[in-house]
């Protein structure tokens, strides 16, 4: 896929995540004990042979730069090609509101123009999967289409994937439109918001939309020009989870306790790479009792842990009971704490004897660096 340029747009709507996304975009949410959401799409690209990738950050730049750096964990710190970050530019002289991704793409058009690749692959980070993009790419190339959209048939999903894009086909099976899922249908075709596109088509769409002013988003531009281009659809049959609400984020984490799902997510089409933290082994101490949990390195566990996801460097002292929870990096849980349906962000401290209980529909959330003790929040 060295003839394909990767484009990841991180300006996702993170309003639904409350304090978890106060200083980070959705793409930087910690996931599965040691990853960030974006690691999956970046690793998919790298594992499939895409080695020139532009990441278009939203406003929360600091968190993105800290994690991605020069791209070393993904082997993207290169002289030729590699990883390029594009931060928003602020222009107080323009009367047009800056909404959507098209403006950001337009501001940085020289990146695509100067790239040697002739095809583009666009993706968001919040559709989390371990997907073999090279197969999809071959399918797209073989189809001879101008644009290809990757989708997945989902069934029995009433009230899930709310707000996601859906792909509508005619009765003859031809692609008709992209709609908005309101959760009315049991089964539908979920757009993974991954598009392949010829570079020439991309520039046609981009310049046409900027001149006409009739689209803020790339997918809008595609829809406006459906008649002009040959659009191909590619079905993905693997596992995908969609991180667009706290509920979905919690469920997506818990899903990896299913060995079939974790096998697919972590091994199926190559490893998932992330920033290295150099944590030592996890130490299960004398009083440790752990059941059905996913535990990262560098932890020291002396309590009871069940159905939980424990990130790197967490300390759980004796007498603790941690169930159905997500405990992020470097959190310290002191003796005799009881947690159930709780999400604790990085570097949280829970002092002795505290009890925190949430509900699967909305877990209790402790913000980054919070200190919680029985006498109240210090």
């Amino acid at each position: 896929m060295k003839n394909c340029l990767g484009m990841i747009n991180l300006s996702e709507n993170d309003g639904a995540f409350g304090v978890l996304c106060q200083n980070r975009p959705t793409s930087m949410l910690p996931f599965a004990g040691r990853y960030r959401v974006i690691d999956f799409m970046l690793s998919n690209m790298v594992n499939s042979g895409i080695n020139n990738i532009g990441v278009f950050t939203g406003n929360k730049v600091r968190s993105v730069m800290d994690h991605l750096g020069s791209g070393q964990p993904w082997d993207l710190d290169r002289k030729i090609n590699g990883l390029f970050l594009f931060t928003p530019t602020y222009d107080y002289t323009s009367i047009n509101a800056k909404v959507g991704d098209l403006d950001l793409f337009f501001q940085n058009k020289s990146f695509v123009k100067n790239a040697k690749q002739e095809h583009l692959f666009f993706a968001k980070s919040y559709m989390l999967a371990n997907i073999d993009l090279s197969q999809a790419y071959e399918d797209y190339i073989a189809s001879g289409a101008d644009i290809a959209i990757v989708y997945k048939k989902v069934s029995d999903v009433k009230n899930r994937f709310i707000g996601c894009d859906k792909i509508n086909f005619s009765e003859a099976g031809e692609f008709v439109s992209i709609g908005h899922n309101l959760g009315m249908e049991e089964d539908f075709n979920l757009s993974l918001e991954m598009y392949f596109m010829k570079k020439t088509v991309y520039f046609d769409l981009l310049f046409d939309s900027v001149e006409k002013g009739n689209a803020n988003y790339l997918k809008q531009a595609i829809l406006n020009n459906l008649g002009k281009y040959k659009v191909h659809t590619i079905e993905y049959k693997g596992y995908v989870s969609c991180i667009n609400s706290i509920r979905n984020y919690f469920d997506a984490n818990m899903a990896i306790l299913n060995p079939e799902i974790s096998n697919e997510l972590f091994f199926e089409h190559g490893h998932i790479f992330t920033k290295v933290k150099d944590e030592p082994s996890t130490h299960y101490m004398k009083n440790a009792k752990v059941k059905n949990s996913f535990i990262a390195n560098g932890c020291q566990i002396d309590g009871y842990v069940e159905n939980s996801i424990i990130f790197r460097g967490v300390k759980i002292e004796k007498g603790c009971i941690v169930r159905n929870s997500i405990i992020m990096q470097k959190t310290h849980i002191d003796e005799n704490v009881h947690l159930n349906y709780t999400i604790l962000d990085k570097r949280t401290t829970i002092n002795q004897g505290v009890t925190l209980i949430g509900d699967p529909s909305l877990p209790y959330i402790g913000g980054k660096k919070a200190v919680i003790s029985k006498e109240g929040n210090l």
């Binding site: 004990g33 306790l257 790479f273 082994s281 996890t282 101490m285 009083n287 752990v290 059941k291």
Partner: protein, 379 residues
């Protein structure tokens, strides 16, 4: 010569044959240790943490795994534009091939490497020991004493002095005498094989030593006694802390078991002195509903369905239902099938233990080294 600059030369060529099958395919410094490390990670991380960023690694015996482990040194932040980590194997010149004859000869053969880095001091290390040490403090000592050589020493139990090179020192830590494996030692300060030399001086001695036909080209046997004889100022730097030479299978097993005591001196959880190693990019470990794990170290990619106690598990190990593992070190990629009982073992990489196997017993202190084809009892 750059003022105050110190580089390290790490001798990593030894086979370590008493480690038996553990060093069949790799040199001793490449032997895995402590759940995720290789022995050489300790001196390399010490260098990086001590702000020594130029490290020459002298290899000779089966260097392939070591090369592949060290790569460009990025794990230790030693991938530098200039300097950084450099593997130094033997090479040929017009006179033919020249294998390293001894520790000092290995440095002699790489004088041009050191000259290019142009240091004031050279730190000689070996890749065989497990310890955490701030070499910059040893350098401060060396400079404060205006020493020509400083040798790092550690107190060993008196009944073990006959296994070590023993140094007798005066109250100023000036070295008065060397004794190689003495029967009746006058001191219990053992040399750790860590030396700081002033490079200009060492350079001259290396060249002079090379001209002697009978020389073994060794620091301990040749260079240091000669310097001492010439009246050069030799001091002992007393190190306190955990230090272990994992020379045999049993001591290797013991050193791993040491890590399980909650206040062990090595303290791998100290974030101010991290031990770095090559990263494998594996997902977290999974402990299943039916598993029990206590007093053990476990690493990424493991899947534990059985019972694990007092053990050290490396990466990607699968312990199946109803198996018991006790007081055992398991290297990466091992599978232990159902209904096994394992006590006091060291299981080598990628071994599959068939269902129903029993190794060792809770009542014996024999340690078993388990490889793909055979099981060896420890000495």
């Amino acid at each position: 010569m750059k003022e105050g600059k110190m580089i390290a030369m790490l001798l990593a060529g030894g086979q370590g044959s008493r480690l038996k099958l553990l060093t069949k395919e790799v040199a001793k410094p490449a032997v895995p240790f402590g759940g995720k490390y290789r022995i050489i990670d300790f001196p390399l991380s010490n260098c990086s943490n001590s702000n020594i960023f130029d490290v020459g690694i002298l290899t000779q015996y089966k260097p392939y795994q070591l090369n592949s482990h060290i790569g460009i040194g990025s794990a230790w932040d030693l991938d530098r534009r200039s300097g950084g980590v450099r593997i130094l194997p033997p090479y040929t010149n017009e006179q033919g091939g020249r294998w390293y004859k001894g520790t000092a000869n290995a440095i002699f053969e790489n004088i041009s490497f050191v000259d290019e880095l142009d240091p004031e001091f050279v730190l000689i290390l070996s890749g065989d020991h497990i310890y955490k040490m701030d070499y910059s403090k040893m350098l401060d000592f060396h400079i404060a004493k205006k020493a020509d050589i400083t040798i790092s020493v550690i107190q060993v139990p008196w009944d073990e002095t006959s296994r070590f090179g023993i140094l007798n020192v005066d109250e100023d830590n000036f070295i008065t005498e060397f004794e190689e494996k003495p029967k009746h030692a006058k001191s219990n300060l053992a040399s750790m094989g860590i030396y700081i030399f002033n490079w200009k001086l060492l350079r001259a001695y290396l060249i002079a030593e090379e001209k002697k036909a009978e020389s073994a080209g060794d620091f301990g046997k040749d260079i240091i006694p000669q310097m001492k004889a010439d009246g050069k100022k030799t001091y002992a730097y007393q190190f306190e802390g955990y230090w272990k030479d994992v020379g045999t299978v049993k001591s290797y097993w013991e050193a791993n078991m040491d890590l399980l005591s909650e206040d062990n001196e090595l303290d791998l959880y100290d974030s101010n002195w991290k031990i770095y190693t090559k990263n494998k990019h594996l997902p977290p470990q999974y402990i299943s509903c039916g598993a029990s794990v206590a007093n053990s170290l476990i690493n990424e990619g493991c899947k534990i369905e059985g019972n694990v106690e007092n053990s050290v598990l490396f990466n990607e190990i699968h312990i199946k239902n109803t198996s018991n593992v006790n007081s055992t070190v398991i290297l990466s990629g091992v599978t232990i099938e159902e209904n096994c009982n394992i006590y006091n073992a060291v299981i080598m990489e990628d071994v599959v233990i068939k269902a129903g196997t029993t190794i060792g017993s809770p009542d014996s202190d024999v340690v078993y080294l388990v490889s793909k084809n055979k099981i060896i009892e420890s000495e």
